[in-house]
Symmetry: C2
Subunit: 487 residues, 2 copies
């Protein structure tokens, strides 16, 4: 790792050479160039291939030296035996950044390892920042750089990610698209012959656009500075890691995959704890945490207020809290008295607050407001917050059998219209989070991926089950406590 | 519990009285009747309300006695103080089944408890099967009976469910719709004044259309026959339970919700183990298990073969297997030799099998076939099975800058067309499951809810993350071992 390294022009080049660009289908050089062009990369693009005059309408250069002007980044897809001399060409052209997509290096045996060492040494001698080899590429929102093997269009946002698996990484981008989590930068670190995950971690830490750092880690070598670097970085922004190779059989698989030694899980876990890294236990939790950490303030403690439209979901949420080290404190008399004024006499007077709503009257917004203002809770779980007036609208216009059928269409229309109008409760959530600094996580519970809609439309962190929401809160509380051990 | 009880006409009545039917919006009697009519219930419908002549085009009767002909089921939504005399009316009319939706009984205090006892005793004296009170209703696919408070149209299938929370129950129906899990019968058991969850369990056990039984359970009373009943039922079909009130605070919430004593979690867990009940740890796992148990044969052991398009996902799947008590055995030399013939020389020769596919050549189907035929594995995780030739098609027609833009549309067209054509690998999975009796669970990993499409279109059990697939396999293996302890 070199702490003075600057990867600005790697992620946001003003010009790019695509070495191994191809007009031939079924070549990676064809696909990656297509992806770059399709995404409207903002810089200049120079395809390099001695066999073609032009590719996809772009003039094609026979070699690197022939490219006019400066090149910030070269992406290479040609066979492994050609890479060494191409590094020379790039070095002579003073290209500061090279992404070697090509595989068949150290991950496949002794000869590959020898080649990899050779290109690493060459790259270092030229001062080249080399990504890979054996990488699925890089992405950056600012310049719309999609130098990626798969066809994928990540949402833009404040999350940056490094991944020791190309597939896991790009599929997290895809998952982010479904869960409304936007990315700023992404790199598949490949075999890490030169640049390592601690370089990316360091760079993302200093990068102003990156608010949250995600990583998929299989292993680091024994001289790695990952732990000391992480310790610095977590002071500035959250670092959320998914660890592959946690078990013997997984570690064994990792060894032949990324070539990384998975290392002892116990040692990794201890390092994670000491450095304030959040470890997500699976890919869903990783993307869920990315959503919450990039959108919401941290809770300042582990006391959770739960408000629910359905008693059973409140029970399950309370169970999940207790099982994850969160506390569900009883309501104080003062709050009970205030709620007594608006809730039916037989309401449960407990946390979780089980709303005994009639169809006509919705006490959710008022009770939520009282709950979030109570200084006895640090975060809120709002179960069924966005449900509001569907039932009301649904029931408004039912009159007769012919009308019944017509009204089914009308109800659908209402639902669609509702979906396009702001829901006051959801608007209120965003407002309360801002005003109180307390995260209010919505749980939409199934309901046609409402959680995605709530986050897209209102900026609300929302999940379809209470268990997912609780896991995220648990990690937020841990991180807050790591940053504020004295409290 | 009465083991001779017959609930056929409760779930599939040929005629139904809707007592408390209403033409007035914002009344449950209005909504439930609307739901029943909207779903095209196959039986006769008799709205009962002394204040109306007709509701939604149906003749309205002033009281139960005025209804012409037999009534199999009465659904009641009138206030709690009216229920007792309505039970008399139903008894005198010889209505064998009554669903009391009305709340404000034992869950709200002493007076409610007294009323509940009164109606229970009356119902018993008339031989009435009473559901509730404080229930969100019942559903049955056969007669399209949607006597439910919420607007919901469950998919039809082989899963039947009882739930001690109406909300949790109906939202599982909704979740099933999203995850392609179809239901045959559903009942929200409410306060269980007469019929209890063991009655429903017993009935579902004998019901030919029910292949898998789901339950949400908060607690049972001390005289409950739930455990001995469950022990019998699990011999015939899988019983998948989600337990609410697992913790002190959750149990406390449950006490005021369903009135049930949550009871010691340790005792419940022990009972689950002894009776072969599968306990799902959250709602997602419950619906995932429902999907797999209702579609696939059980694995006959815990040995899992993993085949993956992406090394990292193989690592994570192997980790999840080992962490959940599943084994990932090494490949035998004979199988390695067979795969050597079709895979590039540097393939990993391990389980998980990391496919080193080129764009043009897809070794997935052949390798999957070899893997599933190997007698060293009991089940298969196929990661990225449905990915196939998107990249291929994507790259076919790229030629120039104008064409580039046109081709983006063409690519979209291809993708859409691909989506409507059978994918050979996915077809092969279904075929192999049938022929070998080994479950092959697909993991689509994100990818725009592909897992739902695969299950809808091909009948494949598919999940978006390996961790979800592994949890399901773990439960299937446990159940197989419970049924076959000698193996």
């Amino acid at each position: 790792m070199n702490p003075t390294i600057n990867l600005d022009r790697l992620f946001n080049p003003s010009s790019l050479a695509m070495i191994g660009a191809s007009a031939t289908p079924l070549k990676w050089g064809n696909l990656i160039l297509f992806n770059i062009l399709k995404a409207n990369f903002t810089g200049a693009v120079y395809p390099v291939n001695p066999k073609e005059d032009s590719i996809m309408g772009f003039k094609c250069y026979p070699d690197v030296a022939s490219i006019p002007g400066n090149v910030d980044l070269a992406v290479i897809t040609t066979p492994s035996h050609t890479i060494s001399s191409l590094i020379d060409e790039c070095g002579n052209k003073k290209i500061p950044n090279v992404v070697v997509v090509t595989a068949d290096f150290s991950e496949t045996g002794v000869e590959g390892a020898r080649l990899e060492k050779e290109i690493a040494e060459k790259a270092r001698s030229y001062g080249i920042n080399l990504v890979g080899p054996n990488t699925m590429g890089i992405f950056s929102a600012e310049t719309s750089l999609h130098a990626l093997m798969p066809m994928i269009m990540p949402l833009h946002g404040g999350v940056s990610m490094f991944s020791q698996s190309g597939n896991v990484g790009v599929q997290m981008l895809d998952y982010g698209q479904q869960e409304n989590v936007g990315f700023d930068k992404f790199v598949s670190s490949g075999n890490e012959a030169v640049l390592t995950i601690e370089d990316y971690l360091n760079y993302f830490a200093a990068d102003e656009k990156t608010k949250v750092i995600l990583g998929y880690v299989e292993g680091v070598d024994e001289n790695s500075q990952f732990v000391p670097v992480a310790r610095e970085v977590t002071r500035k922004k959250p670092v959320l890691i998914m660890k592959g190779g946690r078990t013997d059989v997984g570690g064994n698989a990792a060894a032949s995959h990324s070539g990384a030694m998975a290392g002892s899980t116990a040692i990794f876990r201890a390092a994670f704890r000491q450095t304030g890294i959040i470890e997500a236990s699976n890919s869903q939790e990783l993307i869920d945490c990315a959503k919450a950490f990039s959108s919401y303030p941290l809770p300042k403690g582990n006391r959770i207020g739960i408000i629910t439209r359905g008693g059973g979901w409140g029970v399950l949420a309370a169970d999940a809290c207790e099982e994850n080290g969160l506390s569900v404190p009883p309501l104080p008399q003062s709050l009970i008295k205030r709620m007594d004024k608006i809730l039916p006499k037989y309401w449960n007077r407990k946390n979780p607050i089980d709303l005994v709503a009639t169809i006509a009257f919705d006490p959710f917004p008022e009770c939520l407001q009282m709950l979030v203002e109570w200084d006895g809770v640090d975060a809120i779980l709002a179960l069924g917050a966005g449900f509001r007036s569907f039932s009301y609208q649904y029931s408004q216009d039912i009159k007769g059998p012919k009308e019944l059928l017509d009204n089914i269409e009308m109800v659908k229309g209402y639902m669609a219209e509702k979906g396009s109008r702001p829901d006051e409760t959801l608007v209120q959530i965003v407002d309360r989070v801002k005003k109180t600094g307390k995260p209010i996580i919505s749980v939409s519970i199934g309901s046609d991926y409402a959680h995605k809609k709530y986050s897209e439309k209102y900026g609300i962190v929302s999940f379809p089950t209470p268990e997912r929401a609780v896991r995220v809160l648990k990690h937020m509380v841990s991180y807050y406590r790591y940053l504020n051990p004295q409290e």
